[in-house]
C-alpha cells in the first residue's frame, strides 16, 4: 500500500482509503476525493511544497501532511 506522497509528477493512482476522522473524510468527499476515484498528481512544488492534484474535473492544492493520509493503489494506465 502506498500513499499519495509516493506518486511522481504526472502519475495516477486509485484512492483506496482516507486515513482521517469522519468529518474530514466528508469534506474531502465533497471536494471529490473519494474511494475508488482516480487521482493524478499534476505537479509538486519545489522544496517539499504542496501537491497539485486532479480528480475528475476538480483540481486541488494539498499539503504534504494531508497527502500522506491518502492511501492509494496503483492505477491501470
Amino acid at each position: 500500500m502506498t500513499t499519495l506522497l509516493e506518486l511522481a509528477e504526472g502519475q495516477s493512482g486509485i484512492i483506496h482509503k482516507l486515513n482521517m476522522d469522519r468529518l474530514l473524510i466528508q469534506r474531502l468527499n465533497a471536494m471529490g476525493l473519494r474511494r475508488g476515484k482516480k487521482i493524478t498528481v499534476l505537479r509538486k512544488a519545489q522544496f517539499k511544497g504542496p501537491f497539485h492534484i486532479m480528480i475528475d474535473t476538480t483540481e486541488l492544492m494539498i499539503r504534504e501532511h494531508e497527502a500522506s493520509l491518502i492511501n492509494i493503489t496503483s492505477a491501470a494506465l
Binding site: 468529518l23 474531502l28 465533497a30 512544488a45 474535473t57 492544492m61 494531508e66
Partner: protein, 596 residues
Amino acid sequence: MKRIAFLGMPNTGKSTLFNRLSGSSARVGNWPGITVDLHAVKTFLGGHMAELVDLPGIYDLQGLSEDEKIVQSFINNNKIDLAIVVLCSTQIERQLSLLLQLQKLHIPCVLALNMYDEAKKMGIAIDAVLLEKKLKTPVIKTSAKYGEGMVELLKACTQVINHKVSTPIKKIKPLNASDLISNEKTIQTLIKLTVKYPTKLNDKNTKKLDGLFLDPYWGLPIFFFIVFSIFQFIFTLGKPIQDLMTQFFNFFRLDYLEPLFINHHGIFESLLLDGLYLGVTTVAAFVPIIILFFLIMSVVEDSGYFSRAAFLMDTLMEKIGLDGRGFVMMLMGFGCNVPALMGTKIMRTKELRLLTMFVIPFSLCSARLQVFLFIITALFSATYGPLVLFCLYLLSFFTIFISALIFKHQFKNKEPIIIELPPYRFPTLSQIVKRSMIEIEHFLTRATKFIIIGVLLVWALTHFPMDVPIASELTYSGQLGKWLSPIFDPIGINEQLVIALIFGFIAKEIVIGALAVIYGVEGSALAHHLYSNVSQIQAISFMIFTLIYTPCLSTIATLKNESKNLSFVIYSVFWALLLAWVFSFIFYQTSLYFSS
C-alpha cells in the same frame, strides 16, 4: 415574508447568481445565531415579500469550519422557505451531496445547474428533466455570469414557495457511515442516468496557463511581476485621485466652511472643522483606494489566479503559519493597510485570517512613507537618506515575519489547507463593479462612526483646556506626553513628538501637519526646525516607533469590522505598541552607546 437561502460549494458562482437575482440593493443584515455579515435583499416574488440571503460557500453541511458553522446555525435558527442550491455543472458528481443533505432536512429546494455554459463547452450534457424527476426537485440550467436561465429559475422558485409544505424542517444531525454510503450510491446512480461525459475531458486553456503560471522556474517571477503591476496600478492611479480629493476638501474648507464661521471663532468652529470635518474627510480619503483595490482584486480572485498564488508561495508561508493568499494581501498592505485587511475575506479559515490580519498593519504603507520622506529629507543627506528608508522597509518585513512566527501557535490553524484550483475564468465587468460597490458600502457604514469618534477624541485631547494654545504642552495631550515621559525618554522621543504620535493615531498623513501646529512653523521652516532640534538618532527612533506602533484609526476600525472581535483588536494594538517601543529602545540605546 418568505425566506430564500442561497447555498452551494465555493467556486460555483453562487454569489454571482445572488447578485443577478437581487439587483444592486443587497444589504448586510442580522440573523439569530449569526455573528458575521451575510448579504441579503428583500424583493417581491410570486405574490410574497421574500428575503434572499446569500450564505457562505461550503463543502459540507456537517463540517466544523467557520463557514460551515455559520450555515448550520443559520439553518437551525431561522425558518427557510426555500433553498436555492447552486452547483457547478462540470462538477455535478461531487456537488450533489449538498442537495441530498438539505433534502433530508425537508428544506424545499430548487437546484441551479450553474456555469452550464462551461459544461457545454467541455462536452458534458446533463438531462435536467430526468434529474428533476428523480430528485423530485426543480432543476434549472443557469449561467449566472451571462444571465441565462434566470427567468426559469425565478418561475421555479415561485412555484415552490406557493406550494404549501406540511413537513416541519429538521435540525442538522451528524451523518453516520451508512448515510454516507447510501448518499454515495444515490449520487452514482443519478449521475449514470442523467449525465453524459465526453470520452476525454479537456480544458486545454487551464492546462496551458497552469504550465506557465505554476512553472517551477518562471512561476515565482511571473507572480512577483503580476503583484508588482497590480500594486503600481492601484496606488499610482489612486494617489493622484486621493491628492485631488484632499485639495478639494481643503479648498472647500477655506472657501466655504471657514467663511461661515467668520463671526463665531472659537471652540464650536474648531469642533466642526478640526474635529468633525477632519473625521469625514479622513474616511472619504479611503474611498478611491478601496474601490480601485477591489476592482483589481476581484479580477485576480475570480480569474482563479489567487489560488495559484497560494500554491506558489505555500512552501515558504507554511513555515510562518500563513498561506500564499495572505502573502499577497501583506504586499498590498504596503500600499494601504485598509483594503489589504478587507481583502483577507477570501481566506475562509478563521485562525489563518486572524494571523494575516495581525501582521498586515506592520506593512509600511504609503501614508507612513510620506512622513518618513519628510523627516529623512529634513535630517539626512542624499547619500544616507535612501539607506535609512531602505532599512525601514527591511524592518517592516522583519516585524511581519517575527510577529507571524511568534503568534503562529496562538492562531494555530486547525484545518487542513486544501484549496481548489478552479479553471481560469474571466469575470464580467458588472460582477467586478458590484463587488467594489459592496465593499465600499461596507467600509463606509461600519468604519465611519468609529473613525469620527476617534478623531473627536484626539481633537479633545489636543484642544482642551480651552485657554491654552492648541497642541501645546499645556493641553491634555501635552500633559499626557509629560506623564508618559518615563516611557518615551528612554527611546529619545520628547513631549512634542509624543503629541505628534497622538495625532498620528488618526492618520499618518496628518503627522507632518501636526508637527507644524506643535512647532508653529510650516514647510521648509519646519524641516529646518526639526534639523536643529531633533538629532538623527532621535529621528530614526521616532520613525521606527511610527512604523510599528499603529497604522491609523481606519486600520483599527477595519480590524474590528473584519474580525468582529474587540479583544483581538486590543491584543494586536497592544502588541504593536510593545514591539514599537522595544525596537526603538534597542536602536536608540545602542546608538547612544556607540556614538558617545
